[in-house]
Amino acid sequence: MLVNLIDYLRDRLKTVIRLCFVVLGLLVIYDVSFVDKHSAHTMVEKIPGWWSFFGFVACVLIIILSKWYGHVKWFGSNFRIMSPEDYYDN
C-alpha cells in the first residue's frame, strides 16, 4: 500500500513539484498578509517573507561553504578534509 502510494506520486512527479511550488507561494502570502508579528524580536523579522529568504540562503550557504571546506586543498598540500576511505590505513 505504502509502496503503491509512493509510486503513484512518483509517476506524477511534475504535478507534485508544481503543488510544492504552490505551497511555497501560499506560505509567503500567508506570512505577508495574516501573521501577527508582534512577537518578533528584531526589526529584520518584520521584512515580508524574511524567514523564507533566511531558510533558502541558509541552505545554499551551508551546502556551498561545507563542500568548499571539504574539498579545498589545505596548506598548499594535497591534504583535503574529505580524504580517501583508506586514509588511516596507509
Binding site: 508582534h38 524580536h41 541558509a58 541552505c59 563542500k67 580524504s83
Partner: protein
Amino acid sequence: MTTDFIHPGFVLIFGALLLPFIMGPLRKPYLILMPIVAFACVLNMQDGTYGVVHFMDWQLTFGRVDALSQVFGYIMTLMCIIGSMYGLHVKDPKEHMAAWMYVGGSLGVIYCADYITLFIFWELMAFSSVFLVWFRKRKESLPTGFRYLLVHTAGGLILLAGFVLRYKATGALDFNLLDVDHPTLYTYLIMVGFILNAAVPPFHAWLPDAYGEATVSGAVFMCAFTTKTAVYALARGLAGLDILILLGVIMALYGVVYAVLENDSRRLLAYHIISQVGYMVAGVGIGTQMAINGACAHAFAHILYKGLLFMGCGSVLYMTGKSKFSELGGLYKKMPWAFVFTLIGGLSISAFPLFSGFVSKSMIVYAGFEEHLYWAAFLLTLASAGTFLHTGLKVPYFIWFGKNNCSKETWEKAADPPWNMNVAMAVASFLCIFIGSYTPYLYKMLPYQHEAADYALHVYSSYHVSESLQILLFTALGFFLLIKKLAPEPTISIDMDWFYRKGGRGFFWLARKPIQTFDTWFGEVYRTVGLHPLMTTAKFWSWFDWHGIDGVVDGLARLVRNVGTKLRSVQNGRLQYNIYYAVSIVAVLIVAYVFG
C-alpha cells in the same frame, strides 16, 4: 534506602548481572521486564534525598530526586525500554549486559549528589559502553573502542582533577551549581570533563568515530546516554556559565558542516548529535529558567528522535550490511516502513510543527532572543536549516530514493526488519508525534513550571508556525535545487581524531626507530660485556648447586621465578593493562597528593 526510592540504576545493574542465568524462553520477557521495572521505580519516586552513605570522611548520596533529575531519569529509563525492545533479537547476553550497565551508570550520575559517586558512575558508563563498539567484531572495532576508552579516560581524569582541586580549596564534594560568576581553575577542569562527554569541539571526535562503528542496537543506546547525561551534569553544575553559549553555537554549526561531507548514514547522524547537543549546551550557558527548561525538553525529545533515527538507519545496516550512501539508494520498495519511521525521526529533529523538536528546540532559541543574544539565536536558527537539510532530506533521500547504488546482493537482502525492531521504531515514532502534538505531556515534567506554562502559550502561535514552515520548506527548495552537489562521495572526513590517530603513529615511530635502535645497541653491548661473565658465573653456580646446597638455591630459584612471573604480567605490553595501570596510578597519585 526506603521503599519510596529504589534506585533504577541498581535495578538495571543487578538485572544485567542476572541476565546470563535467565535462559531459554524467559530471556526475551526478562529483557523487556527489567527496563520496565526501572521505569516504574522512576515513576514511583517522590522528591527528596535518599541513599545517603557515610564512607570514610565523606557523605555519598545516591538518590537526589528533584524535578531536574526526574525529567532525565524518566526519559533514560523509557529509552532503555525502547532500546532493549529494538535489540531483542540479539542472542548474545553480553551485549544486553553492557547496555544495561551503561544505562545504570547514566542513572547513577543523574541521581547522585556528590562528585565521588558521580565519578564512579561516570567511569562505569565509559567502561561498559565501549563493549557496544567491540561487540561489532569488525577489524576496526577493536582500535575504535580503544580510542573511545582512551579519550573518555582522559576526560574522566580531568574531571577528577577538577573536583579534587575543589575539595582541596573548599572542602566540599557536593554536586550542585558551582559559582559560575567567578570561575576558577577547578570550574574549568570540571567543565572540560563534562563537555568532553557532551562532545563539544575540539573534544568531540570520539563520537562519530565510536557511534559509526558500534553494533546496530549498541548505537541506539550510545546515541541516547553519554551526551545527554553530560547535558544533565552541565545543567546541574554549570548553568549560566557564559562560555557555554559560544561553545554550544559552535557545536551546532560544526555538526552541520561535517554532516554535509559525511557518506556514512550513522556517522552523519552522529555529527547531528553534536549539532543538537549544541542547542542544549547553549541553553545551559544562557542559564535562565526558560533556557534550562529548553535544554531539558530538547534532551528529552532528542533522545527519542535520535534513537529513532539510529534505529531506522540501523535497520538498513542490519538487513543489508551497508550504511554508506554510496552503497545504498532506491530502497523504498524494499523497506517502506523503515523509511516512514526514519522520516518521522527526521521531521522531529528538524522541528516540523506537530513533531517533537518543534516544541523543544524553539524554547532554547526563544530564551536566546529573550536575553537579547541575537547572534546566538540567529546562528542556532541557521543550524536548524542544516538539520532539516541532512537528517530530514539527505538521509531519507539517499537511502530510500535517489540513485540506486545497491549491489545485487544488497538489493536482495533488503527488506523491512524483524518485528521487534518495527515495534521499537513505532513506539518511538508515536512518542515523537505525541510530544509535538500534545505539549502538556513534556512541559509538565520540566523543572520550571511557570516558564513552561508561559512558553506553552507561544509555541503554536501563528508567528512561530509560519517562521518554522518557511525556514524548513525553503531549505527543501534549496536542497532540491542543489541536489547534484550533495551526491554521495565515497570519502571519510578528517576530524580532530587525526591528532591522536596520526599522533599515535608518531609515538610508535619514535618507539620503533630511535628507541629500538638504542635497544639493539644495548643488547649487543650486554651480550659482549655482560653475558660472558654471567655464563661463567652460572657454570660455577651450577657446579656449586650440584655439589651441595641445592635445597637453599632451589628455594631462591622458586622465589625468583615467582617474582619474574609477576613482573612479566605487568610488562606484557597489552594496551588495556597499560591503560588500567596508568589510570590507577595517576588517580592514586592525585588523591594521595590532595588528601595526604
